[in-house]
Amino acid sequence: MNANDTLDRALAEWLREDSEHRVPDHLEAVLERTRATPQRPWWSTLGRRLPIDVSLPRAPLSRSGSWRPILALVTIALLLAALVLLAVGSRRQLPPPFGLARNGIVITAVNGDLFSVDPGTGAKTPLVSDSPDEVDFGPGFSRDGTKISYLRSVIGGQQLVVANPDGDDAHAVTPVMETIDQADWSPDGSRIVVLSRVLSVGQIHVVTTDRSGFDTTIELPFPANQVSWLAPSGAEILFRGEHLLDKDPPPGIFAIGPDGSGLRSLSTRPATNPADYQDVSGSPDGTKLLYREDGQTGQFRIHVLDLGTGDDSVLPAPPDAAGQTSPVFSPDGVHVAYLRLAAGYRLTFQLVVAPLDGSTRGTELPLVGVLGDDGPTINNYFFTPDGSAVVTNELATRTEWLLPIDGSPGTVIARGTAAYDALSTVQRLAP
């Protein structure tokens, strides 16, 4: 018997002895809580969002019937202008910090610390490497690329921290919260909208990014999910209303002012089930929303909601696709990245970049995932600021990929080992 066998045997013996009678009986307490917890339909697992929403800016447009004739004229004029611009080969102009831009540095989190990464070589430089008692993860650049935010696990929960891109001037902008699910920078960088969860119920907070410590909690009559700012003005916050309990209204897409005023519904058709209206993404020019519809039979369809007219249509899908889900706009709003489901018993997901108008079946990127316990194993994807690639997380291997949208082989940005490891963000630099 060698030393390894001895340690193995001693360890197994110690584990058995040490684990006995340590935890008091709590089965009834568990069952009491599960009795009060509704089960989720199986397709709703696709709708789970990830800790930080790093998708690109959302956009608004108010709707008013009396303005429709004027809006039609304006739309025609804009269309003519767009045709002229197209004829001369120009791209649509979006106000900064929206539209195509140059790529800056990449920041990622591995093993509780933040690093800047050279995507060419994979070399990592420590950025925020502080106390061993703190775990930093989920970085996200401000829209203008001048600041970063990230989550910090501390005693009692999590905090959102804001810092310079080099890690200096780090300061918490939220109190310690039980769980922070999402954080999205306002277009002007002065505020961040935060989604926290207490006992699974999502709540919206608006915090300032300076050191003023201003924090507004928005009171809503139902749980919230999937928050972001409506671009380009940032006058409203976009979110999904959740149906968790019988008393909650059906799910839908809503907008509300950052001070909690002016709650309004944006969705225009009745929800098909409690898992409907998922994965909401706004176009950077403020004209459209994308979202996923969950059909009663579990068929996933991406809808395009025109915020000007209220028209709600389905993004075309190739006949061999079993469904499409989780859309994200490109910075110029021309393309959409989403997951396409393959037909067959075992759900597989292919990451695809396709034109918004559905004129082609798009380009399949070289990454396929499956349905894991936390939703698709390909997740948290977003376009780089220059629109040439998609950054995505592959949960099964804790790997962050940079995938060119032409379908050529990707490169690894970072690898991790723990949940939420390797999630990255790309700095936007002025074009």
């Binding site: 030393a3 390894n4 001895t6 340690l7 193995d8 001693a10 360890l11 197994a12 110690w14 584990l15 058995r16 002895e17 040490d18 684990s19 006995e20 340590r22 935890v23 008091p24 709590h26 089965l27 307490a29 568990v30 069952l31 809580r33 599960t34 009795r35 917890t37 509704p38 089960q39 989720r40 339909p41 199986w42 709703s44 697992t45 093993n111 509780g112 610390d113 490497s129 061993p132 008692d133 703190e134 775990v135 696990s153 501390v154 005693i155 009692g156 929960g157 999590q158 349905l371 894991g372 316990d373 099964a396 291997t397 080992t417 723990a418 949940a419």
Partner: protein
């Protein structure tokens, strides 16, 4: 019978889920205790895992994977618990210590409980999870990989690293004046 219970629970039968939870909870508690070393936090982690199991059971495609799925949920809940409170990482320069020429191997004799516990406490959640699943729940390494949804090679490297760290602690205890460095990984 067990598959039938899982299928019934998946269809919303809470009584069936209660039977499954009752049969599993003592091993889940033990697993969580070993991971967290704190009874209250172990209870929290197991409750979180079982509530999530009940809530998301309709999404479980293969009823025969119920046990593995439960273990995964508990391990994830424990990892979240660890991350929410504090994180200790330790660098142990195994090569430097084990190449020392005159030191007797402490594991050649049966290490005492305190030594093993001290070594175990120094492991990160990933190494603890692999060791608990393999050495406590007796899962073969491929099953550990399947349970944690990580490659088999990663399981082996975590096991190797974890046992190596423990062995280094035991060896250091046996070596007068030897020092085991602590710190964060580079």
């Amino acid at each position: 019978m067990r598959r039938d219970l899982v299928e019934r629970a998946r269809e919303g039968d809470h009584d069936a889920f209660a039977v499954l939870a009752g049969a599993a909870i003592s091993r889940l508690d033990a697993t969580a205790w070993l991971m967290l070393r704190d009874a209250d936090r172990a209870m929290d982690a197991v409750q979180t895992a079982l509530i999530r199991a009940w809530r998301d059971l309709p999404a479980l495609r293969d009823p025969d994977r119920f046990d593995a799925w439960l273990y995964r949920l508990v391990i994830h809940a424990c990892t979240d618990e660890i991350r929410q409170v504090r994180r200790h990482r330790f660098d142990v320069d195994i090569s430097e210590i084990t190449t020392s020429p005159v030191v007797p191997d402490a594991t050649s004799a049966v290490a005492d409980r305190d030594q093993i516990e001290r070594g175990f406490r120094r492991l990160g959640p990933e190494e603890r999870a692999v060791i608990v699943l393999h050495h406590f729940l007796d899962l073969p390494l491929p099953e550990v990989a399947s349970t944690l949804q990580i490659p088999l090679g990663t399981v082996k490297s975590r096991l190797y690293r974890g046992l190596g760290q423990m062995r280094a602690v035991l060896d250091a205890d046996a070596r007068p004046g030897a020092d085991v460095s602590e710190g964060r990984p580079a």
